[in-house]
């Protein structure tokens, strides 16, 4: 799949933002006044900024409100509804904490639950795609949720929880790469099933249907070199969990260390999210006889 910056930024930042909102909603840490303002400002900037970035890849963003209508069937619509509900509820909860010095715990709990459910519905947009076998596994939502909770805990200053979650995240990420590498073959779609011509022998594309490129090829037939991908996997694995956890657990905690850990996690998050799209193979590539090259 084409690793579009708008979608990478959207899923990465809004995941972090809703992760932070989840922790804040459940009172980790318990904040009020100016601290609460700072925390909620970061969370809202990430979550809402991510959502805004997602509208940049729309062909007709002026009709975006219509996306709230199909929550009964569409994960994308559910995500939109849940995102707005989370931001609304958490906004009220934040007003209480910041201006009224009162903690409406029930409201916070509801907002926290809505926030993490938003991340779940984001992940299901990808996990539901039968056409992209690498994404279609139960580990995809687990991974997205762990990203959000781990990164959120890091931003919320939950030193021990964040370290443990980020280490768990590194392991989960490694496992999903390994399992993901086999998913396309397991799913069983080949150029022979795509064309139905297997009974005639081995099938190959003799001539493309057009001389130039097209929307499908640009959007869904992204070929990434394996060596390149392996290098990025290494960088992502180190920076998203191992380095932040080492910084937090080994060195004496202060704000500079925290900023370094967050920066490292962000780098890993973006590298891993780029790979999430770039390495994902869509079955339509079979009609163009293009599979990942070594």
């Amino acid at each position: 799949m084409h690793p579009a910056p708008s979608v990478i930024i959207f899923t990465a930042l809004s995941g972090l933002g809703f992760g932070l909102l989840t922790w804040l909603g459940f009172g980790f840490p318990e904040v009020s006044g100016a601290t609460a303002f700072a925390m909620f400002f970061v969370a809202f900037a990430l979550a809402a900024g991510g959502l805004l970035a997602s509208t940049f890849h729309l062909g007709n963003p002026q009709r975006a409100l219509k996306a709230f209508s199909q929550w009964r069937s569409s994960w994308l619509s559910r995500e939109a509804v849940l995102a707005v509900a989370s931001l609304g509820v958490m906004g009220l909860y934040a007003i209480g904490l910041i201006f009224l010095n009162s903690t409406w715990q029930l409201l916070g709990g509801i907002g926290g639950a809505l926030s993490i459910t938003t991340v779940f519905s984001t992940s299901m947009i990808y996990a539901q795609m039968k056409t992209v076998p690498r994404w279609r596994m139960p580990l995809t939502p687990v991974l997205f949720l762990t990203y959000a909770l781990g990164g959120g805990a890091l931003l919320a200053g939950q030193v021990l929880t964040a370290s443990l979650l980020l280490l768990a995240l590194s392991v989960l990420q490694l496992i999903s790469w390994k399992l993901g590498d086999r998913r396309f073959a397991q799913a069983g779609s080949t150029i022979e099933t795509a064309t139905g011509l297997g009974f005639l022998g081995r099938v190959r594309l003799l001539e493309k249907p057009h001389s130039g490129s097209n929307y499908l090829m640009r959007e869904m037939v992204h070929v990434v070199g394996r060596k390149h991908a392996l290098k990025l996997r290494g960088i992502a694995l180190l920076t998203l969990g191992i380095i932040p956890a080492a910084l937090l657990l080994v060195l004496p905690f202060n704000h500079i260390i925290a900023v370094a850990a967050v920066a490292s996690h962000l780098l890993g998050l973006f590298a891993a999210r780029w790979l999430f799209f770039a390495e994902a193979e869509h079955v339509v590539g079979l009609y163009y006889d293009q599979r990942r090259v070594g």
Binding site: A67, Q70, R72, T193, T195, P209
Partner: protein
């Protein structure tokens, strides 16, 4: 509503005969012509006269080569458009309700006034049947020429999809798969019509008639029909020719 209908009255779709298709791309061109000037936003072209022209098409013809070991290769021209799946994944992912499957005839359509151009339906389609128009920012797909097949302002023989109407080889057929006695149902049954990527469970309506196997020229006896008739004449002629031969030899 982007939920799929439990049952559609008709199941309109195409049968494409891979044995007959000559790969002329006439269906591609006639599709583009009809659909750029009728239903919905036109099918735009980008850099049409430049170095890398590209555009939106609802129907494209791929050409594949299939080969068994020790057998000659076989070329198959392969037109591909929306298969109007019964379990269409492109419909249920749509966040706005712009994508829908019609209850009355099973045609999968996009209401362009509701389409935000998110592209998720194109991701959900295994067949590459949906293309985002670069100029209009809305998703385009085969409508089965919904504005031709019910159109009482055009002659009755033209009330079929433009691709079917224009195919010079007669490789494309349009009809109702819900009716077991329709032309498409009978053709598909007689020639074991193929379903594309059945493993994905989309239950496509369109069927492809498999190409017949090529004659095998590696075994020469199987194709050499005339050779026995071309055997050399016997050395000794008989009958009138024999008499003539003998008679002439006397001199």
């Amino acid at each position: 509503m982007t939920t799929l209908p439990q049952n559609t009255g008709k199941k309109l779709g195409l049968v494409i005969d891979l044995d007959t298709c000559v790969g002329c791309h006439a269906c591609v061109i006639s599709c583009k012509e009809w659909n750029t000037s009728n239903y919905g936003a036109p099918l735009s072209d980008m850099d049409a006269y430049g170095e890398s022209p590209e555009g939106t098409f609802l129907n494209r013809v791929h050409t594949f080569e299939a080969k068994l070991a020790d057998k000659p290769a076989q070329i198959v021209h392969f037109p591909k458009s929306c298969l109007h799946c019964e379990d269409a994944p492109c419909v249920t992912v749509c966040p706005t309700g712009a994508s829908y499957k019609r209850v009355e005839d099973g045609i999968v359509l996009v209401n362009e006034d509701n389409c935000i151009g998110c592209g998720l339906c194109a991701w959900a389609c295994p067949y590459g049947a949906r293309e985002m128009d670069a100029a209009a920012g809305v998703m385009k797909k085969c409508t089965l020429c919904v504005d031709r097949i019910y159109n009482e302002n055009i002659p009755e023989k033209d009330r079929e999809p433009a691709c079917v109407r224009s195919c010079p080889a007669g490789a494309r057929h349009f009809g109702d798969f819900a009716d077991p006695d329709s032309n498409v149902s009978l053709l598909s049954a007689a020639r074991d019509g193929l379903e594309l990527m059945p493993e994905l469970g989309t239950r496509p309506v369109n069927r492809y008639l498999p190409p017949r196997l090529k004659d095998d020229i590696t075994d020469s006896s199987s194709i050499d029909i005339l050779a026995p008739l071309l055997d050399p004449m016997p050395e000794t002629a008989s009958g009138f020719l024999g008499w003539l031969d003998k008679a002439l030899e006397k001199f």
